[in-house]
């Protein structure tokens, strides 16, 4: 789960990390009032859950209220990577002496929380990672110790030499780690963390993602969720035990297991087709799940053919076949379906499918090729 910049800034504030003042606005009028109230140079920032809004023109500096209004008119309603900007943040534009990057994420290799810090802030850290990886300090945090005073200081000394700034930075690092742990985050970033003209540190942009598996114990964080339309669909699917991600293609896929679902997409692509989605129906052969999955696939108008790929493991293929038949009886599916069943009790399953005159194929490759041919 992701949250907006304005929400991350608010969390930072609650933990005592210095963040410039800001006001969230939904309309040009609100922006005008906010700019007047702040009465100093501001920056008007699109609040969207995708990256690259700066390049897209979603962040504008405003010296006057008029500037802010003009910026708001341009930004509100603008489309950034498929997201419509519905709100902007009017934030105090602090004077910046130097920009830094700090972030926390999970490190698979050390199996710990990784603290990242760089004196090359304000730009996309992915770029820094590619061009100058040594400019990013990466420090795994021992889970038994957490972010100790000395470690926060040690990292701070990698970015700052002035002891007053080292102390400020160390304090921010400790708080950032606490936010990460307290909220079950998966990513926390301040980019940039800046030194202002009066030598104070300030977090002028924030990003936070959270571990979906831990949301059950993070009620306050879950409340911050503002899903996009596509994400709402994904969340509804999750509630039915389905993992669904919408893509751009036209072959609707229904698969059991995440790895197999990805491999299915890959095979479709390999033969020149284009998957409309990732859909993992999980391990159960409950007919309702199959019905929900079919409804989900058909709700996407781009879908021209449905390809079902089930590998019977603990889930028996004959059970899945029964569920599928029940589902199809209840639904009015007008587009072609390609079904591939294999693994445990595949023969029995195929018998049931064939009895309903549904088309089956023998291999994944054949299924993909058949589906592609049916699209055209």
């Amino acid at each position: 789960m992701k949250i907006h910049e304005y929400q991350a800034r608010q969390l930072f504030r609650e933990y005592g990390i210095p963040v410039p003042d800001d006001i969230l606005c939904y309309t040009v009028e609100e922006v005008e009032a906010a700019a007047k109230k702040m009465n100093r140079m501001t920056v008007v920032k699109a609040q969207v859950l995708v990256g690259g809004r700066g390049k897209a023109g979603g962040v504008k500096l405003a010296r006057t209220t008029e500037d802010a209004v003009s910026a708001a008119k341009q930004i509100l309603g603008m489309d950034i990577k498929g997201c419509t900007v519905e709100k902007v943040l009017v934030a105090d534009a602090v004077d910046i002496k130097k920009e830094y990057y700090v972030g926390l994420t999970i490190d698979r290799n050390t199996k710990s929380v990784l603290f990242m810090a760089s004196a090359e802030g304000g730009v996309e850290i992915e770029e820094v990672a590619k061009v100058n990886p040594d400019a990013i300090h990466k420090i795994p945090i021992d889970p038994d110790l957490g972010m100790t005073d000395f470690m926060a200081r040690k990292i701070a000394f990698k970015l700052f030499s002035d002891i007053a700034q080292v102390k400020q930075a160390a304090d921010i690092f400790k708080k950032l780690y606490r936010i990460f742990m307290d909220t079950d985050a998966s990513i926390v970033e301040i980019n940039p963390l800046v030194v202002t003209n009066n030598d104070a540190l300030s977090a002028i942009d924030g990003k936070m993602n959270f571990d979906d598996n831990a949301l059950y114990r993070q009620a306050e964080i879950e409340k911050l969720n503002e899903p996009t339309e596509d994400e709402k669909k994904e969340i509804a699917a999750k509630a039915s035990g389905l993992t669904y991600i919408r893509l751009d293609g036209n072959i609707g896929c229904m698969v059991n297991g995440a790895g197999l679902a990805m491999a299915t997409m890959d095979v479709i692509k390999h033969f020149g087709g284009s998957p409309a989605n990732f859909l993992d129906i999980g391990g159960s052969s409950n007919p309702q799940k199959v019905i929900d999955a079919m409804n989900l696939l058909m709700s996407d108008k781009n879908v021209k053919v449905i390809m079902i790929n089930i590998f019977g493991g603990i889930t028996r293929c004959d059970d899945v076949a029964k569920g599928l038949v029940t589902a199809l009886d209840q639904l009015n599916v007008k587009i072609p379906i390609v079904i591939r069943l294999s693994g445990t009790n595949a023969e029995e399953g195929l018998k049931i499918i064939k009895a309903k005159n549904l088309p089956t194929v023998n291999s994944l490759s054949e299924a993909a090729q058949k589906a592609i041919s049916l699209v055209n």
Binding site: R108, A129, A214, I245, A258, G259, M262, G313
Partner: protein, 290 residues
């Protein structure tokens, strides 16, 4: 020979009285896995599929000498069950539970390291040494005793691969599903080492997927330490960036962890990468000159 488990492995089932635990205990017992005990607090004295149930792991280990545990416990309590296993004297823990919070696993894996306990999973289908022992939820019928070692981050994709191998008469020494979570137990490197050292294993199949850089690291490890033939498959070649593809670990971020990078890494060290699942048995046959 095999790796990690064999017919002498004494298995304890944590959460044995639950719906999944009880069901899969039956499957494991049927396969011949040496299930010696189950744990379910407050249910000591009962039995499930003739397996005696204890209140705590410590009690079960003391009474039965169990050395390996398999966990069927709801995600919010799964990490605690892993800790209980390690503290109770278990040496290999297999955690099937899906959806365990990542920070729980960070804490658990640190403790296991300190105690010298090995972990498979969480969010994994388990492992099998065909004909000897299956620990987890693997569909046993598709497996065949043989000389191919398999390591996979996926579940059903693994089953597909194994059934293809078995169809081509390429039996398996041991197959391990390591799970798809960002922070997990034994990973490619450790298992490659075990297969390299296992006399029975003649070739290795590695099934990776997008996210992280474990495959890239595995490639480097193979280059330096593995002399047996390895063939690979990477799922998620067409996955979009930034999206979680079912497995929490399968998220491409920070411009790394793409399938293309992983495939390139393997091919650079001479590990052939199958483009289609069906290529896997063919590549193995070729590697073994069969």
């Amino acid at each position: 020979m095999s790796i990690l488990i064999n017919k002498n492995t004494k298995v304890l089932v944590q959460g044995i009285t639950g719906r999944d635990g009880s069901f899969h205990t039956g499957k494991m017992v049927d396969y011949g896995t040496n299930i010696v005990a189950g744990v379910s607090p407050g249910k000591a004295g009962q039995s499930v599929h003739n397996v005696p149930v204890f209140n705590t792991v410590a009690d079960a280990v003391a009474a039965t000498g169990a050395d390996t545990s398999v966990i069927f416990i709801p995600a919010p309590y799964a990490a605690d069950a892993i800790l209980e296993a390690a503290e109770g004297g278990i040496k290999l823990v297999v955690c099937i539970s899906e959806g365990v919070p990542t920070l729980d696993m960070v804490k658990a894996t640190a403790y296991l390291k300190k105690k010298g306990v090995q972990l498979i999973g969480a969010n994994c289908p388990g492992l099998i040494t065909p004909g000897e022992s299956m620990i987890g939820i693997l569909p046993v019928d598709i497996f065949k005793k043989g000389n191919v070692g398999l390591i996979s981050r996926s579940g059903t994709l693994t089953y597909l691969m194994v059934s293809l191998l078995s169809q081509y008469d390429l039996g398996q020494s041991t197959c391990v599903g390591i799970g798809g979570d960002p922070v997990a137990g034994l990973y490619f490197q450790e298992l490659l080492q075990l297969y390299q050292d296992d006399p029975q294993t003649e070739a290795i199949v590695l099934i990776g997927e997008i996210g992280g850089d474990a495959e890239e690291r595995a490639a480097q490890y193979i280059k330096k330490h593995v002399t047996k033939p390895v063939v690979a498959f990477i799922a998620g070649q067409t996955a979009p960036a930034g999206k979680r593809m079912g497995h929490a670990g399968a998220i491409i971020s920070s411009g790394s962890g793409t399938a293309a990078e992983k495939i390139a890494a393997f091919e650079a060290v001479g590990v052939p990468v199958a483009r289609l699942p069906i290529d896997i048995p063919l590549l193995i046959k070729k590697a073994l000159n069969k």
